[in-house]
Structures are given as structure tokens and as C-alpha cells.
């Protein structure tokens, strides 16, 4: 890793960048464009996010606050835990632990650092991690392994049974940094008494582990408060996601990112609720006017991104879609399967969804255990892709519900799990009438395939499959 990268702690840098960005919007348009010049690499993203209006401002502040919590955790006597995006952070908030979600930090770093996460990705390989592993964790992990961020107290994740490369990153970190480690384990099926019992027993073991780390017991009231808030957020999200089904879809392309990032950052916290409410305001207004969320106001096509979308260093994918007047319909990251989710009801799949029951400590823990077992990815790629409740069923049902014109498969080539069955999967989605594009780019490492190549593959696909002239 280059020396100059160690000059400032990287998470501190990201924090400062977001703080600066959050302040900017307070000024006039002119002041904003002056100030944004100081953050050249960040500019594209900022412009897009601020383009959304109030929720954009809230989002930037929220990210700044997320990093602020990380930076000052130790000063405030809190412990930090590195964790993964398919893990609900609510339990950390309930226990007053500060979560550092690697994948989110990777995306934030990609947005603010000129060279993206490349140096940190490579640093992991320097210290012995395989270079063919998933880039979403590696990007950030490298920085923590190099000791360039805040001190980490524990490593907590939840993917075995779902994703080796993900857990491996955490297992590696725990061994490398010699920190306590806990992981939730997911059996291959989702429903049924055996799985439910397993999830709940496992989650109780997690809580015991966390309690031991902080030397305090879980506060029932706090957990109740947070899960009540989660429920509120579930209802807001359900309405937002339901709005997407309308033709035209009243939500701008970027809303998706904000919706799921909100949950990954601050599930159960009032910040997330505010963000969702603010998004909903715009969504409802557009819907009332029968207005598309796309900049041109016209919706030509609907695309369903069944895996991860493309981040790269800025939001170029989102711009491209917006420009091509394509409405974006979620991906594997955006569906949380709560009892309130419109799709759980519309598809008559309440069995797949979790319930929040705030009666007592036991029901609270059962609820959060169930919630966690339904997190994106964790839910639908734990078993054979074509098994009930799993990926193919979810993708087809949602793509039909959303009347998608095509499906895009894009993510990270570091993932064995998803690339293991991509071809039969795409064959099945095609058989069901969805033209399917497989992209070989990496959502987090722009060196794998250049954006120009990716963009031209998308254009080619739309043209050859006669979706667009």
C-alpha cells in the first residue's frame, strides 16, 4: 500500500468529506458549486444525490453521522464491530455497539477516493488474502488490516451457509487482527420449524457473545424501542416499494440506493425513518401527478436488477438508466421481506416474511432473529437457486409483479455463490420471457471491466434484444 494513504485515517477522511458535503448544501447554488469543486471525485455523486432534494440532504447527513459514530466510538466508551451488509445493525444499536459495515464503507470510499478502493483491495492480497475473493468486503477490510482506520473490537457476520467469500473476509480479519469472532449460520432452507428454531438459537448465541464483549446485558426496552421503529420503517418501505409498481414508476432511479442504504446504515434508528418519510413525500407527490421519477418524466422500459447494481466510483449506471429512460426495479439488496412488504402480501408469501412481535424479550429476540434471517442475500441464496423461497422464485415473482421488461445480472465476480449457477438461472429467467443480461463487471472494483465496456454491453443488449431502438 502506498505510504501517502496512511497519512490520514481513511474513515476519518470519508467522514470529513461527507461533513463538508453536508454543510455545502446550506449555502446558495453558487456557493455549492464553488465548494463542490474542492471534492472533484465526489462531485458526480453529490450532484445526483442532491438532485433528489430533501432526502438527498438527509442522506448525506446520515452518512456523515454514521462515520462520526465510528470515529468517536472509542472516545465515547463504545465498542466497534465490523460486520456485513446482510446483517441488520439494529442489534448493535440496541446494545450500544457501533457497527462498521464493510460493504457500505467500500461504496462510500469508492465515492470519495480518487482511486476508489483499489489500494485497499490490493492490500488484502499483500497480507495473504486471495485476490479472487469478493471485492465488496476486501475494499474496506484492507484499510482496517493496515491499521489505517479506527480500532476494531470484534468481528460479527452472518453468512456461512450463504456465502464463503464474505465470511472468509471476516474470518481472515479476526485471525489477522486477533479479535473475537462470531458468525450466524444459515441452514439451506428458510422456513419450517427446524430452520426457525435454528435461527433463533443461533441468534441467542450471538446476543450472549455480544453481551460478553461489552460486559452488559441486552436492555429489553431499548430493543423494543428499536424494533418498534423498524416496524415503522417496514411500513414506510412497503409503501415506497409499492409505488414502484405503478406505471410510470414515480420513484427516481437513485431512490433504491437510498432505501436500502438507509436500512443498512441505520435500521431501527430515527434517522432512517426520517429519510424514508422524506422519500415517500416525493414519491407520493409524483404518483399523485402520475409523473415518472425519471428526469425526462418519461418511462420507456423497466429493468429488474436481480443481483447487485453497479457502483464503480460514481453513479454512472444510474445516470445511464435515467438517460435511457429506464425505470429501475430493485435488486437482491432491496427486498427485506417484512410482514408489511407489499410483495409478501401480493405474492401470498407471508411465510417468507418476518413478523415483529414486541410482547416480551423472547418474542423480541425471535423477531430480530427472523428479521436477520430474511436479510437480502441471506434469504434467497442460501439454498439451491430453484428451491422454494429462493432466488429464482423471488426474481421471477418480483420481475412479473413489477412488469419488468428485462433482467440484469451484475455483481461481483468474487462471488462463488452467485456465479455458481448463473447460467441455469439466466436460462430460466429467459424461459420465463425475460431477456437477461449477464454483466461481468465488478460492482466495487472498476478495474475488472471498464465502465465504457459495461455501458456498451448494456446498450448492445437493449438494442440486439430489440428493447430499445
Amino acid at each position: 500500500m502506498r505510504k501517502e494513504l496512511k497519512e490520514y485515517p481513511f474513515d476519518w477522511m470519508i467522514w470529513r468529506t461527507f461533513v463538508a458535503a453536508a454543510r455545502m448544501k446550506a449555502g446558495s447554488e453558487k456557493e455549492y458549486s464553488q465548494a463542490v469543486k474542492q471534492l472533484p471525485y465526489f462531485r458526480g455523486i453529490l450532484d445526483t444525490i442532491y438532485g433528489i432534494g430533501e432526502p438527498g440532504q438527509l442522506f448525506i447527513e446520515m452518512v456523515a453521522e454514521y462515520f462520526e459514530k465510528i470515529i468517536f466510538a472509542r472516545k465515547r466508551g463504545q465498542k466497534t464491530a465490523i460486520t456485513t451488509f446482510c446483517f441488520s445493525p439494529a442489534v448493535f444499536y440496541a446494545l450500544d455497539i457501533v457497527p462498521i459495515t464493510l460493504e457500505l464503507v467500500t461504496v462510500a470510499m469508492g465515492a470519495t477516493y480518487k482511486r476508489g478502493t483499489a489500494d485497499f483491495l490490493d492490500y488484502c492480497n499483500e497480507v495473504g488474502f486471495t485476490e479472487t475473493s469478493c471485492s465488496s468486503q476486501r475494499g474496506t477490510l484492507g484499510a482496517y488490516l493496515a491499521g489505517n482506520g479506527v480500532t476494531i473490537d470484534m468481528v460479527v457476520c452472518d453468512s456461512p451457509g450463504v456465502c464463503d467469500t464474505n465470511v472468509n473476509a471476516f474470518a481472515f480479519a479476526s485471525a489477522y487482527l486477533d479479535k473475537p469472532f462470531f458468525q450466524l449460520n444459515m441452514p439451506p432452507d428458510l422456513t419450517g420449524a427446524r430452520s426457525t428454531e435454528y435461527h433463533r438459537a443461533d441468534y441467542r448465541a450471538l446476543i450472549a457473545f455480544l453481551e460478553e464483549q461489552i460486559g452488559r446485558k441486552l436492555d429489553t426496552e431499548k430493543l423494543r424501542e428499536i424494533l418498534t421503529e423498524v416496524r415503522k420503517q417496514d411500513i414506510l418501505m412497503a409503501e415506497l416499494e409499492e409505488l414502484q409498481i405503478l406505471v410510470p414508476n414515480p420513484l427516481p432511479v437513485t431512490f433504491n440506493l437510498l432505501i436500502y442504504a438507509g436500512r443498512f446504515l441505520f435500521a431501527g434508528m430515527p434517522q432512517c425513518t426520517r429519510l424514508l418519510e422524506s422519500l415517500l413525500k416525493i414519491g407520493r407527490e409524483n404518483a399523485r401527478q402520475n409523473q415518472s421519477g425519471l428526469s425526462s418524466g418519461k418511462e420507456r422500459l423497466r429493468g429488474f436488477f436481480c443481483y447487485i447494481d453497479h457502483y464503480g466510483q460514481d453513479l454512472r449506471l444510474w445516470h445511464l438508466l435515467d438517460q435511457m429512460e429506464i425505470s429501475y426495479h430493485g435488486n437482491i439488496l432491496s427486498k427485506m421481506w417484512s410482514q408489511d412488504a407489499y410483495y409478501a402480501k401480493a405474492l401470498d408469501r407471508l411465510e417468507d416474511a418476518y413478523n415483529i412481535d414486541t410482547t416480551d424479550l423472547d418474542t423480541l429476540i425471535d423477531s430480530i432473529a427472523d428479521l436477520n434471517s430474511r436479510m437480502p442475500m441471506i434469504k434467497s441464496i442460501r439454498g439451491p437457486y430453484d428451491a422454494p423461497h429462493m432466488w429464482l422464485q423471488d426474481t421471477l415473482a418480483l420481475a412479473k409483479l413489477h412488469r419488468a421488461d428485462f433482467i440484469v445480472y451484475n455483481g461481483t465476480p468474487g462471488c462463488r455463490n452467485t456465479w455458481g449457477m448463473v447460467k441455469p438461472f439466466a436460462r430460466d429467467t429467459e424461459k420465463n420471457g425475460f431477456p437477461t443480461l449477464i454483466l461481468y463487471s465488478d460492482a466495487f472494483d472498476m478495474r475488472v471491466e471498464s465502465w465504457e465496456t459495461t455501458a456498451s454491453r448494456i446498450e448492445e443488449f437493449l438494442k440486439v434484444r430489440r428493447l430499445r431502438p
Partner: protein
Amino acid sequence: MIVAGCDVGSLTAKAVIMEEGNILAWEILRAGTKPALSAREVMDKTLEKASLSMDQIAWCVGTGYGRKQIPFARSEESEIACHGRGAVWAASTVRTIVDIGGQDAKAIKVDAQGNVIRYLYNDKCASGTGRFLEIMADALGIALDDLGELAGKATNPVTLSNQCVVFAETEIISLVNEGRNVADIIAGLHRALANRAASMVGSIIADEEVAMTGGVAKNSGMFRALETALGVPVRRIDHPQLNGAIGAALFARDAAAARS
């Protein structure tokens, strides 16, 4: 109505001039690094052969890697669409096309009109491409044109383990050193390439008549290897390397017709 198609690929530039479904003239040249220059050169040669000038061409469609840079093309189509179209024009019963060019390989499924139903790129880092064959031919000191014939003489084709072009070259050299028969090595190479193509065809489930296009289709060894790998006969079409340009010219005819 006279129309043209121009296909600037990674290795070769191709042009064809057609009138009412007949080929008037065509040309294939090695492409330089500047697609615009290659396009101009190949088109000029073709025009010369047909004794025509550019303004007599009602419409020209560009395709191939360099399609965006062709100055005289009035519109562009991707090579996938062009190969689909061209193959069905050449042999109306074809429904699956294996196109292996210099830079990539594709499997394309089409309907009776030559419209693309599905397609797939080679996804392997290794790449079963024409470039792979060229590098290997080069390493063995054999002319591209002779590959097919030599492969036919193999008695015991070798197995190659490497997916990677670069490493495969090392492997081949070490096989030569071990004294393996060159024909066997070449046949092994063809088999490796054909198998890669066959796996693409396998993943889009192709069951109807298969044709092979692109420069590599000129290699008779590859033809046989692909037939073996797929276990079905592969349809021969007349100008496989030109097929993309022909498809482009057919699109040009549509465009010109729509105009008038």
C-alpha cells in the same frame, strides 16, 4: 438499390456491397489500429472492385468493434445482430450461430427472420478466440491457413489444461519439447477451442441447425472439432468471415427501404 455493410473487427476489416440480395463485391483486410482508416481502406477497395463510388451506395451500415468510428456508415448495428441476420440469409434453416472472431466468441440464437433471441459471450478469461489460434500458430511456426489441414492428420490429440492464452502457449512449447507430434498438438488446440464454444451453445440450449461464422470458421479443423464437440453437423456457409458485413448490408437494405 445498392447497399453496403462494413465490419471493422479487432483483426480484420470487411466490406461488402450488395444489390437486391446479391453480392456485387467484397473485401477483407487486416485492420490497423485506427478503425476509421481501416474502414475507409476496405470500403475503397470494395468500391473499386464493384466499379462504384460511395455516392452510389444508398445506405451503409457499420458493425464490429470499430463500428462507431466508421465515417461513411449511416447507421450501426452490433455484430451480434449482423451475424444473426447474415447467417439466416446465407442458410435459411440456421437457428444457432457460433461466431468466433479475433477478439471474442459468441453463441447466438435466432428466429426464422434472423432476429436475435438470445446470445452469450465467451466468459472465460481464457477466451476461445481466433487470437488464441493465431498466437499458437505463431508459437509453432505454422501458417494460419495450414492449421486445419494439419489438425486432420492428428492421431492422438493432446489435452490442454490451461484456459489462459498466455499460459497455454507455454504449455504448447513444453509439449513440443516433449516431442509430441505437432498435428496432435494442433488438434488438441482446436478441440479446446471447440469445447469452449460448445459450452456456450450448451448454456443457451440450442437444438436447431447450427452454423459457424467469423474468421475462425475458415479453418476446416475448427469446423470438424466443433461438430465433434456439439455432436451435430455444423452448416457451412459461403463467406463466414464476411458474414457480419453481409448482415450489416442486409440491415442497410431495410434502412434504405424504410427511407424511400
